[in-house]
Symmetry: C2
DNA sequence: CGCAATGGTCCATATTGTGGACTATCGATC
DNA sequence: GATCGATAGTCCACAATATGGACCATTGCG
C-alpha cells in the first residue's frame, strides 16, 4: 500500500549543489509561484527550516488522510528522509502552533485545529478556479461515471485539489486531494505539461529531474514522447504508467490569460478506455474546460472593471 | 477598522525572558496541545523560525480574509512587529511552498494553493466537533436571529472556528473565523474559562498575562470577577467589553470526557440582551450544547468499540 | 530474555536565520 | 521636476539558532 505518495524526499542531501544546470526557469513570466521543494539544491535562500516544516506539514496531511488515528513519528521520518530528531523537533513546533495535533494515546500525529482554520480562511479567498470548476467536475463525474479530478499547476508540479466520485462501480484511489507530482506524471499533470511552450517544457523537465528519480519510467525522453502524443491526440492519456492498471485521461484548463493553469481528468481501469470512449471522454472534458475558461475570463473582466471604476 | 485582530505581537523581544513566572501550566492532564505563541518567552525549544513562520501564515490568512487583493508587506511587518527583512524572508519561504501567494501586480500577499489543500485534508479528518456542531449552529442562528459562533479551546486560547449568520438585520463583525484571543476574552471564550477548574483558571491567567497587555480592561481581577459571574449565571456575558456596543452570550460545550473544549455563542447589540432575552438565549444555547455533548459521547463510544473488536 | 521496533531526549557543532542599514520605485505635494 | 514619505526588495557580518548523531526508555514479538 501507500502507492506513490508524493515522494517528497528532499534533494540529495549529502553532496553539494552542483552549480551547473542552467538556472533558467522563471524566465517565462508565468507566475510568482516558485518551483517547489525539490529545487532546494539550487536555492540556499536562507530559510530551510521553514521549508522543511511546511513540507512536513503537508506530509502529515497527506499520510494521515485516510487514517483517523494519524501517522507515527517513525513513518514520517522514513518518508521524509530526515533524521528522527529533526522531524520530531519540527512536529513539536507544528503541534505548539496547532497545525498538527498528537493523539495522547497512540502518540501519532494528524492535522490540527489551525489547519482547518487555514482552510476556512483560504476558502473565503476569491478562488475563481475552484468556484468555476465545481459544477464541471460534478457534470463530468455523472456523465462519465468515473472518478474525476481537478489538478492545479504549481510551478513545475501539479497538485490534485479536488476529486469527485462518479456513480460507477469502479473507484480509483491512485490520486487523492493533496497529492503532488511533477508535471507530466499522471493524466491531468501531463495535459498541463503538454499545453506549455517547448521552452517551458524544457525548464520543467530540468526542474523536476531529481524528483523524477522516484518515478521509474519517466525519464526525459519518455516525457517528450508523451507530450508529443498528447498534443497530437488533443488529450493526455495515462495508460497505467504510474500504477499498473490505473488509466486516466486529462485535458488542460486555461485561465483568462490563456495560460494552462489546471487540468480536468477522469480515471478508471484500462478496459474502460478503448478508442471510441477516449474520444467521447475527451470531448466531454474539452467542453467543460472551455466552460471553465469562459467563467474565468468573465470573472477576470468584472474584477478589473471593479478595480478601476 | 481592524479592531482587535488577535494581536500576535511576539513576546517582548528586546529584553531577556524574566525567568520568574512559575512555569506551572500543563499540570492538568487536559491535552497535548501546547500553550500557543506568546508563551514563547519561556520556551527556548529550538525552533523559533518555524514558530514565527506559522504565526505569520495565520496572520496572512486573518488579515487577508476580507481583502481579495491581499495584505501588503508593510502591514504585515507592522502588525507582526518583526523587522521587515525577517517578515519578507519568511514570506518568500511560504510563497515557495505555495501556502501563500503574491499578487504579481500589487505585490500583496494572500493565502495560496497549499492553504486550501491543507484545509481539504483537515476536513477529511474525523472532526467530531465540527460535524456535531453544524446543525446546532444553524438552529441557534435561526431561532435567535443573531450571528452565532463556535469557539474552540486551544491551550490557553480560544479560536473561532465557525460562524453562522442569523436571519436578523444586525450583523456582528467583532469575531470572525480564525480570530484567536486569550481564554476569558469574548463570550464563548469566557464560557470556556468559567467551565475550567480553579487551578486551570489560574494557569491560564498566568499563561496569557503578557498577551492580555494588548486587551485593556482584562486584568486578572476583572477576569476572576467575570468567571465568578459566569458560573453564577450559568452563561458567559460579554457586555461590550471588547468592542463597545458589541455584546454576546456564550455557554461551554463539553466533550465525551466532560472537558470544556468549545463554546457556542451569539452576538449582537446591547439592546438585544435584556434580562428576559438572556435567559431565553441561555436556555437555547444550553440545549444545543447538551446535544453536541451527546453526539460527541456517542461517536466516542462507537470509535472505541471499533477500535477493539 | 534478548531483539527490534517504537517515541523521546541531549548537546557540541557550525549552519542557519537574523535584522540593521542600504537601495530602488512609485506617487503625492510643493 | 525636485523633495518627501511611503512602498518593496536586497545585502551581509554576526551569533543565535537549528541540526542530527548518539543515547535512553518502553513496548511487543518470538
Amino acid at each position: 500500500m501507500m502507492a506513490a505518495v508524493s515522494a517528497n524526499a528532499d534533494a540529495p542531501r549529502p553532496a553539494a549543489p552542483p552549480p551547473k544546470l542552467g538556472n533558467a526557469a522563471r524566465r517565462s513570466a508565468s507566475w510568482t509561484i516558485a518551483h517547489t521543494a525539490d529545487d532546494a539544491a539550487e536555492r540556499p535562500s536562507g530559510s530551510q527550516s521553514i521549508q522543511r516544516a511546511l513540507v512536513l506539514l503537508n506530509l502529515v496531511g497527506v499520510l494521515a488522510r485516510d487514517r483517523p488515528d494519524g501517522v507515527s513519528l517513525a513513518e514520517l521520518t522514513r518518508v521524509s528522509g530526515r533524521p528522527k530528531a529533526s522531524v520530531r523537533r519540527i512536529l513539536v513546533a507544528l503541534v505548539a502552533e496547532g497545525y498538527v495535533e498528537q493523539d495522547p494515546d497512540t502518540a501519532c500525529y494528524r492535522l490540527g485545529l489551525q489547519a482547518g482554520v487555514l482552510g476556512e480562511l483560504a476558502g473565503n479567498r476569491a478562488d475563481d478556479l475552484g468556484e468555476a470548476s465545481t459544477d464541471s467536475l460534478i457534470r463530468i463525474a455523472d456523465a462519465s461515471t468515473e472518478t474525476t479530478f481537478l489538478t492545479v499547476r504549481h510551478g513545475s508540479y501539479a497538485v490534485c485539489t479536488r476529486r469527485q466520485e462518479g456513480p460507477g462501480p469502479i473507484r480509483n484511489y491512485a490520486l487523492a486531494v493533496g497529492d503532488r507530482h511533477p508535471l507530466g506524471i499522471g493524466a491531468g499533470s501531463l495535459a498541463i505539461l503538454g499545453a506549455l511552450s517547448d521552452d517551458d517544457v524544457e525548464d520543467v523537465l530540468a526542474s523536476t529531474a531529481t524528483t523524477r528519480d522516484h518515478y521509474p519510467g519517466f525519464d526525459d525522453d519518455t516525457l517528450h514522447d508523451l507530450v508529443h502524443r498528447s498534443r497530437h491526440d488533443g488529450y493526455a492519456l495515462n495508460d497505467g504508467r504510474v500504477i499498473a492498471g490505473s488509466w486516466a485521461l486529462g485535458v488542460a484548463v486555461h485561465d483568462a490569460a490563456d495560460r494552462p493553469v489546471a487540468a480536468l481528468s477522469v480515471a478508471s481501469i484500462a478496459e474502460r478506455f478503448d478508442g471510441a470512449r477516449r474520444d467521447e471522454l475527451a470531448a466531454l472534458l474539452h467542453a467543460e474546460a472551455r466552460s471553465i475558461h469562459a467563467a474565468l475570463t468573465d470573472s477576470q473582466k468584472s474584477r478589473s472593471a471593479r478595480g478601476r471604476p
